[in-house]
Amino acid sequence: MVWTIARQQLLTLRRSGTFIAILATMLLMTALAGFIGWMSHHTIIKVYDETVLLLTAQGKPIPANPFDSKPELALLSNLAIYVPLIGAILATIVGHIAMMEDRASGAARLLFSRPMSRSRYVIGKFLGTTIALAGVLAASAVLSTLSLVIVNMHVPAAGEVARLAVFFVISLVYMLLFALVGMAFAITSRNRSFAIVAALGVWLVLTFVVPQVTSGLRPTTSLNPITDPVSTSQPFFQVTAHARPISVSEQYKRVSASVLQTEPAEPTSRSALRVVPIFGLALLLALIVGRLVARHDYSRGLQ
């Protein structure tokens, strides 16, 4: 029965124009991430080669090639931007559709007059959402690997594949978090439009507002996969900086940078701590959504 609910949800998503459009954008951006990485690499190497020629002619010492010490996965650093941007929006919409479709169509009344418990229903929805988002990320992972192989002429070693896998698992949980926000608003809102706008509002706050407040309004902290120190020049930000460890988008960005080796490696225990707020919030939201479904009056339609 859980699988029946999940399968129906996957069929719905497959036939949803909105989902397909955002999925296509996400995959396109993933493919571009490798290409952009290659472009940056190519440009810097070109500048480096010209500099080498110039320095050689002047008889000056030649510095080391900056890319010789750069891990190959760093070429995919843009992925850590696309997931919180497009991936999280996609997840919010997936979560919204998962819960709203049954309410808006009136099918919920038919569902709950069947011998199916609400816990099975919500587990089915979680399963369908997880499979859908895992599918999106799997496609993204394949594209990323291909871009490393084809565009950057680099076959990832086993360790790199493992790092990519870890990155995509963390990304999956991060996206699930937003899917759960989409679900929560889709259950509680009386109006379909308000439900999606409110959920996207939460995405906006978590992605742009919280990171900037907790880092003293440094704009690079909201998306750029390069860690920026906290600016505590004002008393307000000295206080809000303490909330930085629970800023999920910032923690996601930092753990991704660590896994993809955009930044110098940090101890595994520290990276593990960074995922705690992400996993913790996702778990909390899952419990809240389960509770909301259990208590919701599905006999009433939408306004």
Binding site: T4, L11, R15, L110, S113, M116
Partner: protein, 249 residues
């Protein structure tokens, strides 16, 4: 067909059933017993509490007080068992628009625990003379088509009791006639007890074996159609009887 338990219990029993939405008493203590095999017409004006009664009987909401039983099973204590015995067609039946009729029915058959869901879906569509709708998306259907597929989803697991909430709403006259014939077939051929909320008094007279009249959450009248017409010999139609019953409430 699902096995009701106990076998000799009434199809529907309401005992002091009450329901309150916020401060509004929607149902004010209803007592009702409907034997198996009846086609029961539940009458009342808008807001009288008919849909709330069906929502309780289909386990969608819990009563504030009193009890409701379907085939002897309490809707609050044994909702899963009750759901195995019932079929339900809401007033504005909507299924998944992007799915075909067959996909919708197969989905609901799986949820009902039907063993061969696809075969059951096809069989039901054929039984209801709408096999031609099987491969068309529900989103393209007219109200009448939706209603036919809606009935198919309600009966494909062969329930003991079928709840229809305003089934004739929005239907053209030919749709109403088709629905009447379907109800009669389901009752006579499959032995389903049918509980129907409706405004269409002319249809009630043609298809129902007994009626109940609900007024502001109170059941003010219930009897068989035969006894009702005998009790009000001066009235020309059920509509006249209904008006007189409501006026006397």
């Amino acid at each position: 067909m699902a096995n009701p338990s106990p076998l000799d219990s009434a199809a529907i029993e309401l005992d002091g059933l009450r329901h309150r939405y916020d401060t509004d008493d929607v149902l004010r203590g209803i007592d009702l017993s409907i034997p198996r095999g009846e086609v029961f017409g539940f009458l009342g004006h808008n807001g009288s509490g008919k849909t709330t009664t069906v929502n309780i009987l289909t386990t969608l909401i819990r009563p504030t007080a009193g009890s409701a039983r379907v085939c002897g099973l309490d809707v609050e204590r044994e909702p899963m068992h009750v759901r195995q015995l019932i079929g339900y067609l809401p007033s504005d039946v909507r299924m998944y628009d992007h799915m075909t009729a067959l996909e919708n029915l197969e989905f609901f058959a799986r949820l009902s625990g039907v063993e061969r869901p696809r075969a059951a879906a096809i069989e039901t569509l054929e039984y209801l003379d709408c096999a031609d709708l099987a491969d068309r998306r529900v989103g393209t259907f007219s109200t009448g088509m939706r209603q036919r597929v809606g009935i198919a989803q309600a009966v494909l697991h062969k329930p003991v009791v079928l709840f229809l909430d305003e089934p004739t709403a929005g239907l053209a006259s030919c749709g109403v006639r088709h629905l009447r014939e379907t109800i009669q077939r389901l009752n006579s051929e499959l032995g389903m007890t049918i509980f129907m909320n409706t405004h269409q008094l002319s249809e009630v007279a043609k298809v129902c074996t007994s009626i109940g009249v609900l007024n502001h959450g109170e059941l003010i009248y219930t009897d068989s159609i035969e006894n009702t017409t005998a009790r009000f010999p001066d009235e020309a139609s059920l509509e006249d009887i209904y008006v007189r019953v409501e006026a006397g409430a």
